[in-house]
């Protein structure tokens, strides 16, 4: 094995091994567990940064393992996987810190953190997957590793949510498997090569390929919560806040969105998709999802539920960007939103978790005046919310800007219209929260004040949202710099030759 292959393996192992060890650790050794977790995640970030550098310098590495003809496991480091891997690993570190703070004194932590680490391993696996089979492998394992986290609370409600999650996710997985096998039967092995299969298949198998594309999108669309397939996401909100953050920002929804990106860019390729003429379909679904999610979010009083519907809406920006794959600008917008949405949404969930954990606030109607009690948390929340609305200089604006430009470049006015309407709707459901929290008056005591101390809440709960909020701001302000997500996405788009 070359050192590059070792790098890939050690990236996976850096969270897998801690996860396994954590399972074996007794419940009460929480210090050791925390140290293990933090070391693992820091090491992972370091390794991934090394990988990023080398990818940037033009190296590539892959591990290939043929199981049977047609079923090959392929790990591959390319710029796109570096993007997702970096995002996941950085957010994992923060989420770990947050989860340690969040679950202080609660039972079953070793179990939780074990699955937590496995979940991230699998997510990185999705990022590094080099063909559809490997992607499928990790995609299914993601469902498995997140399920215990979703039902961590163990209540009837969480079990029901978990059941729904499983049904949705595995149905999606089954459809995906079906489509993958079918695709391989038609066009042969599907490595993520950057160009897609040969255009000659389009002439001969166009109907079948369209059908397979739809099936593939359904398969990943379940996790990406595209509209008719989104039902599990709001229910999964019963999980603890770090899990919600993980589901929405780092792992599950992102994995779905990443799958859409892979399918569009690497499996089919822009040219083939244009020839097949299926992109309007994707665009339509994305549009409906964006608007539907926003409207439903407006209806919610539960804070986390509102955030969940907001995720449904926001993740479809990525799909929207992919549906304009022939426009480099839209592509940039869609790809960079993968990172941006993650940052913003994780901030919001951290803050929602802080409110719940510190003051027992779960509903928006209880939030009146909460910013006076928890100013830093709410400041972070506000930045996240502004990002969601797309107000400069947050990162949300950057995504929308590129998406809009791409839409115009493609001559699609409706894209701009969708963005505008969605921004307005986002404002409708976020700004009232902010005004209520900042300028409302506290009405009676907090539902359940759990923490009274020097800071507004536990330090480990406070720092992660502040960091992510800072990144949301900073990544927008320095969007044009050499090392911003935007710069990396531009690099990706260059690599794809667009």
């Amino acid at each position: 094995m070359t050192w590059g292959q070792w790098l890939l393996v050690s990236i996976l192992l850096s969270s897998f091994l801690p996860g396994i060890i954590i399972f074996a650790l007794p419940e009460e050794k929480h210090h050791l567990r925390t140290i293990l977790n933090l070391c693992g995640s820091t090491l992972k970030i370091a390794l991934i940064l090394i990988m990023d550098t080398w990818i940037y310098l033009g190296h590539s590495f892959e591990i290939r393992m043929v199981i049977i003809p047609g079923v090959e496991l392929l790990l591959n480091g390319d710029p796109l996987s570096a993007l997702f891997a970096t995002l996941s690993s950085v957010l994992w570190l923060l989420t770990t810190v947050y989860a340690v703070g969040y679950l202080e004194e609660s039972p079953n932590r070793s179990h939780f953190f074990g699955y937590f680490s496995l979940c991230v391993t699998v997510t990185i696996g999705i990022a590094l997957a080099g063909n559809l089979v490997t992607f499928l492998l990790f995609y299914e394992m993601l469902t498995l590793t997140t399920y215990p986290l979703v039902i961590h609370r163990g209540t009837e409600k969480s079990l029901r949510a978990g059941r729904n999650y499983l049904i949705y996710a595995f149905s999606g997985g089954a459809v995906f498997l079906f489509a993958v096998v079918w695709l391989q039967a038609v066009v042969g092995p599907t490595d993520f090569s950057g160009a897609g299969f040969s255009p000659s298949f389009v002439d001969t198998h166009s109907t079948v390929l369209v059908l397979i594309f739809i099936l593939l999108i359904i398969g990943v669309g379940v996790k990406a919560a595209l509209v008719p397939l989104h039902g599990w996401l709001p229910q999964a909100m019963v999980a603890p806040a770090p899990v919600s953050a993980l589901l929405h920002a780092v792992a599950v929804v992102k994995a779905g969105a990443f799958g859409i990106i892979r399918i569009v860019l690497d499996v089919y390729g822009a040219q083939n998709l244009l020839l097949l003429g299926v992109l309007p379909l994707l665009a339509g679904v994305a549009t409906i999802t964006i608007l539907y999610g926003s409207v439903r979010a407006l209806q919610q009083d539960g804070l986390k539920r509102r955030l969940a519907f907001s995720t449904i809406s926001q993740v479809s920006y990525i799909a929207l960007g992919m549906s304009l794959v022939d426009q480099p600008l839209a592509l940039i917008g869609g790809l960079v939103h993968l990172v941006h949405q993650g940052l913003m949404k994780i901030t919001l969930f951290f803050c929602a978790g802080n409110l719940a954990e510190t003051l027992g606030i779960h509903r928006i109607s209880e939030m009146s005046g909460v910013a006076r009690r928890m100013p830093l948390t709410m400041a972070a929340f506000s930045i996240g919310a502004f990002g969601m609305i797309g107000i400069p200089p947050t990162v949300g604006f950057v995504s929308k800007w590129y998406l809009g430009l791409g839409g115009l470049a493609a001559g699609n006015w409706w894209v701009v219209l969708v963005l505008a309407v969605s921004s307005l709707l986002n404002a409708c459901y976020f700004l009232p929260i902010l005004t209520k929290a900042w300028f409302g008056k506290q009405q009676g005591p907090w539902p359940e004040e759990l923490y009274v101390g020097r800071f507004e809440t536990r330090l480990m709960l406070l720092v992660p949202p502040l960091v992510t909020a800072f990144i949301v701001m900073a990544a927008g302000v320095v969007a044009n710099a050499q090392i911003s997500p935007l710069a990396w996405v531009r690099f990706i788009v260059r690599e794809y030759g667009l």
Binding site: P148, I151, F178
Partner: protein, 506 residues
């Protein structure tokens, strides 16, 4: 023992003789039964490894018992599929042996009923050894009547094992099991009679070379198939399986579900695609496929509605056996090479996963005193490894990557799509989804730890109760990753396979 060189065919007698002797010894010496059995199982495992080595180096081998040549003598032979089945039996058997030790010693620890449990243990070991000998004989036999004898051997010992627990329900179930297995054997025997009348030989190789496909042979095949189907518990003849498997002792359930049904299926498959390939017709293949599809769905739906863990696992066996039959109609395009790999993978993965699952069910039963699914919460606190094993075995049953079942399902799907028979693919997918539902119905209960559950495990809880299950589950999970090796073994000694991978195996 000078004549036992590495290339001596006589090695293949050992898998039959060793357990047989061990069984006798167990019967005679009731003290050290476990040691004897363990030694036999270990030796069996080693010999099987040696046989595989032989196969890889020298190719397929034949052993003519007592020096009598066919058609008069009885011969044994090794080839890829047979050895893989032997390996499956050896590995699963080893784990089950260890588990059974833990199981019985835990039960014997229970003072009020120690005597009964001791008696059960005393009968368990010889019977299990007998069964193992029968199974090994079945896989190695190259003589169609000899196979009948091994089938009866298996039937007798399996039925007695199933009755071992002493509960009325289990005795009733095992009585029924015995009758069904008798009916199956007799039907099979009737088939042999027809076959013998038309061909006049019993040796499988000779039968294969005769390639006679007159009506006698066809009738014989039909009769033998029905007999074997009865023993394999294919829908709609599955009714005897769930009660027999669910009411037996846990190690016995594991043996029955993982190994015994596979034996008869192995024969069926071998007859259809190796011995009498010229006899089979497309409608017949489709008919088998339809039955398999029905079994998948019916078994899964029944498993979903069960309230008891062991019954659920048993019904899951009914469902999983269906997959083996889905492979039949795909023979039209792929020939037997791909088919063998599908069914072998399915069988290997299923036997490991299912025995692990029954072990888990047994451990949980020992721990809680019941296996009602809705009262299972809290088990994870005391039995984390067991629960983990259940989860992994469940993943394997659902056919998620990278389990062996996934590889099998992948091949099923790709064959069915390549031959434009997508409906089989749909059945396979929906079967997996239903499997997900029943697996996770239990899983979700396992995960919940209600307030106030103690973390102290009962004192004599032997690691033998937990680790074999985990090991088997892990094997079934990672079988997919080592898929090239079984495929390599499979390709040895079978010309059809070598042709289908012209560039050599990966």
């Amino acid at each position: 023992m000078i004549f036992l060189h590495a290339d001596t065919p006589a090695w293949m007698l050992f898998p039959i003789v060793l357990p047989l002797i061990a069984g006798l010894l167990c019967f005679l010496f009731s003290r050290r039964t476990f040691v004897i059995a363990l030694a036999a199982v270990l030796a069996n495992f080693l010999v099987v490894c040696l046989l595989i080595y032989q196969l890889l180096v020298f190719g397929s081998m034949r052993c003519h018992m007592g020096g009598w040549q066919p058609p008069l003598g009885i011969s044994l032979r090794t080839d890829g599929p047979a050895l893989l089945m032997l390996l499956m039996t050896a590995v699963t058997g080893l784990a089950i042996t260890l588990y059974a030790r833990g199981y019985f010693s835990y039960r014997i620890f229970d003072p009020p009923r120690a005597g009964r449990h001791q008696r059960q243990q005393r009968f368990f070991w010889p019977l299990w050894m007998l069964l193992l000998a029968g199974l090994n004989g079945l896989f190695l036999s190259n003589d169609i009547f000899n196979i009948y004898v091994t089938l009866e051997l298996i039937g007798i010992s399996a039925a007695s094992l199933a009755a071992l627990s002493g509960k009325p329900a289990s005795q009733l179930a095992s009585f029924r099991y015995l009758l069904i297995s008798l009916l199956g054997s007799l039907t099979y025997l009737l088939g042999i009679v027809f076959l013998y009348r038309s061909c006049g030989v019993l040796d499988l190789d000779l039968l294969q070379n005769l390639s006679n496909n007159g009506p006698g042979v066809r009738a014989a095949l039909a009769l033998m198939s029905v007999g074997l189907l009865l023993k394999t518990a294919l829908f709609p003849l599955h009714f005897w399986l769930p009660p027999a498997h669910a009411n037996a002792l846990a190690p016995v359930s594991a043996i029955l579900s993982a190994l015994v049904v596979k034996g008869s299926f192995y024969l069926l498959f071998r007859f259809w695609f190796e011995i009498f390939p010229s006899t089979i017709t497309t409608p017949a293949l489709n008919f088998m496929g339809t039955l398999g599809a029905a079994a998948i769905l019916w078994g899964a739906i029944q498993a979903m509605r069960q309230h008891r863990l062991k019954l659920m696992v048993a019904y899951s066996t009914v469902s999983q056996l269906g997959y083996l039959f889905i492979a039949f109609p795909l023979a039209r395009v792929d020939g037997s090479a791909q088919l063998w790999s599908i069914v072998i993978f399915m069988a290997l993965a299923h036997s490991c996963a299912k025995s692990a699952m029954f072990m888990v069910a047994g451990t949980v039963f020992l721990h809680l005193g019941h296996d009602r699914i809705k009262d299972l919460s809290g088990v994870r606190a005391t039995l984390p490894i067991t629960v983990f094993a259940y989860g992994i075995a469940g993943v394997s049953l659902m056919g998620l990557p990278p389990s062996g079942a996934f590889i099998a399902k992948w091949m099923l799907l790709s064959s069915s799509l390549a031959s434009s028979q997508w409906w089989w693919a749909l059945v396979v997918m929906s079967g997996s989804l239903l499997a997900m539902i029943y697996v996770f119905r239990v899983m979700s209960r396992f995960f919940v730890i209600p307030e106030g559950v103690s973390f102290i495990r009962p004192a004599p809880f032997s690691p033998l109760l937990e680790w074999p299950a985990l090991a088997l589950a892990l094997i079934s999970l990672f079988l997919g990753l080592v898929a090239p090796w079984p495929l390599h073994i499979l390709s040895q000694g079978s010309t059809a396979l070598a042709q289908s991978f012209p560039g050599g195996l990966p």
